[in-house]
Homo-oligomer: 390 residues x 2
Amino acid sequence: MKGKPLASIVSAGLSKFGKMEGLYGRELFAQAAKEAYERCPNLDPKKDIQALFIGHMGESYEHQGHTGATAADWAGLTPIAALRTEAACASSGVALRVGIMAILSGMYDVVMVGGVEKMTHRTTPEVTEFLAMASDFPFEQWHGITFPGLYALMATAHMHMYGTTEEQLAHISVKNHYNGSLNPKAHMQKVVTLEKALSSRVIAWPLKLYDCSLITDGASCLILTRPELAKKYTDMPVHIIGTGHACDTIGIYERESYTTLKAAKLAAKQAYEMAGVSPKDIDVAEVHDCFTIAEIIAYEDLGFCEEGMGGRLAESGETRLDGRLPVNTSGGLKAKGHPVGATGTAQAYEIYLQLTDQADKRQVKDAAIGLSHNVGGSGATATVHIYRRE
Amino acid sequence: MKGKPLASIVSAGLSKFGKMEGLYGRELFAQAAKEAYERCPNLDPKKDIQALFIGHMGESYEHQGHTGATAADWAGLTPIAALRTEAACASSGVALRVGIMAILSGMYDVVMVGGVEKMTHRTTPEVTEFLAMASDFPFEQWHGITFPGLYALMATAHMHMYGTTEEQLAHISVKNHYNGSLNPKAHMQKVVTLEKALSSRVIAWPLKLYDCSLITDGASCLILTRPELAKKYTDMPVHIIGTGHACDTIGIYERESYTTLKAAKLAAKQAYEMAGVSPKDIDVAEVHDCFTIAEIIAYEDLGFCEEGMGGRLAESGETRLDGRLPVNTSGGLKAKGHPVGATGTAQAYEIYLQLTDQADKRQVKDAAIGLSHNVGGSGATATVHIYRRE
């Protein structure tokens, strides 16, 4: 068996994703925690869980910071050590990374990691403004560019360099919406045709409405323990065997390339080396499809195909649920939704389900090794994690 | 020698604290990093530093989140792993804690921890609103209470229960302003008399202007390594021998007591036990004096005196620079200033100076063991760290 476990996931929870009117983010986190507790009857949360690391991107949405203490309280865990991590849309990818370090440090036996964001009660211009804080204030925000615009720059560069097409982008959307239609917790649970995706209104050319992820409310969590303690809590742990985390300049204008995310490539390299696996060993992956072009670039950065071939991989069908390497079986950020702070650990939640045969209609048969890829901003932060079945 | 080192500080840096017009927070952090680099010529930052954990409380001040990647870039460290931690005013206290775990995890040999906040370009109502996000939105902010009001509740309760007086509160202010007058990096470097403090205008009775900490710009950082590697970088490392971190409800209304911070008591207990020391062993301490009453409560929570006796300890002079246990030799949040995200590691910076005989006019002779105490919000988060001289 490949890969020495760094930490083991013994349970996981996910709130319903969508427009969750009348609930605070903390209440969504309590939903996620409750599922994780119910899934793991051998665990006594109040007694066993010793720390909480929670990703949360923006205090502006709910005029509420201090997310660590608040979420710990609503999950019934006060007075344990709790803190918030932030790295834009990779806020809970880095929370997971901190959780792994916390376990490896020997300071804790059992920790919870997770993420939360409540967004839909805000207007679209407000959300656009709050999300923009993940880009550079003096050199990007100030000049009026927003995230669809930044990713559109990447898309046009990719089209120019590699001949990537609007149809190839739309294939990502169609695939992820199909997967979302099988996920009862997804924000959007309906299939989308290629024609519909291609004829949707332009947001920032070539990105159309169906190339963009959703503004969503949601929360997610995982319970981690030392591998040697995992069997105390469950017969079906999932082992984290690789973790990678790297950064790049916050401003896209300073990067060496617009068509690849250096931080993601570095994080993937670290994770693969640590896990002792290569891209061809991955059976199922959740990647950061904030825009369809981001999933195409992820294919390349993660080594699922050669540089420039991401568009062709998308249209080949190989990353569909019935393909050789299913990607974003949950529906991804595109269809499951993208409550930004919750996304990193929501990706890990899906991999946990897949590697414990709990993914129901979207189960990938015999999936043994999974990967999650979480990106912050236009790529200034990336984390990659690799998991294996018990 | 007491206390097995968890991690060792091999260098530290602090920007000038004050009203730093025309600079972004990232530039203040670069100042702090530059000092840390210059102080440690044996370290090659780009080659040696492998991760950055940075406390930052509010993205609203500069309309800028994603602080990890940005600060790493301005400190010349891209593409290392970087992330922001947030726990209100304990944002960099928890960053330090994450840094210690990162070292103990074996994942990194050398990491930087720090904090940053740029506040003074905002109006006082704006700062008041942004700080309020550290309190509870539905049950505190919504009803109009702000931080001076929350701490005033604690002060009046303390006065009622223990006979603490306005004069005792003012003694904290006079002491910390005196210490600040000896610190060339402090925001306010002038002495204040008891009369002046007592006659200053009321902010939220019994707290007057001179009972409140300052709205300040600043940044701080530490470079940590594994204890066995410390001598490679410096002849004068400072060893971290204890760390504690606990939380409480975000809302003060749910607490068992208004006159003690349970999270701080728990964090102190953890840190003392880990370090194998007791309060009487502490030679110098930096405590979280966001308001004068907070320093009095800290004396009690940290075991520097019996519960209820903090006011008397303040007026006794024992915590002055020439007393038996000097507290807030830097000037504290009161006079050095309180750039919220930077405060936790700025406290550690002062202890580092004291335990390496670099504190100049405010040097505590033969200080061997130091402590820092960092509080978030009205006490929903607290961290305590204990340090010893090489």
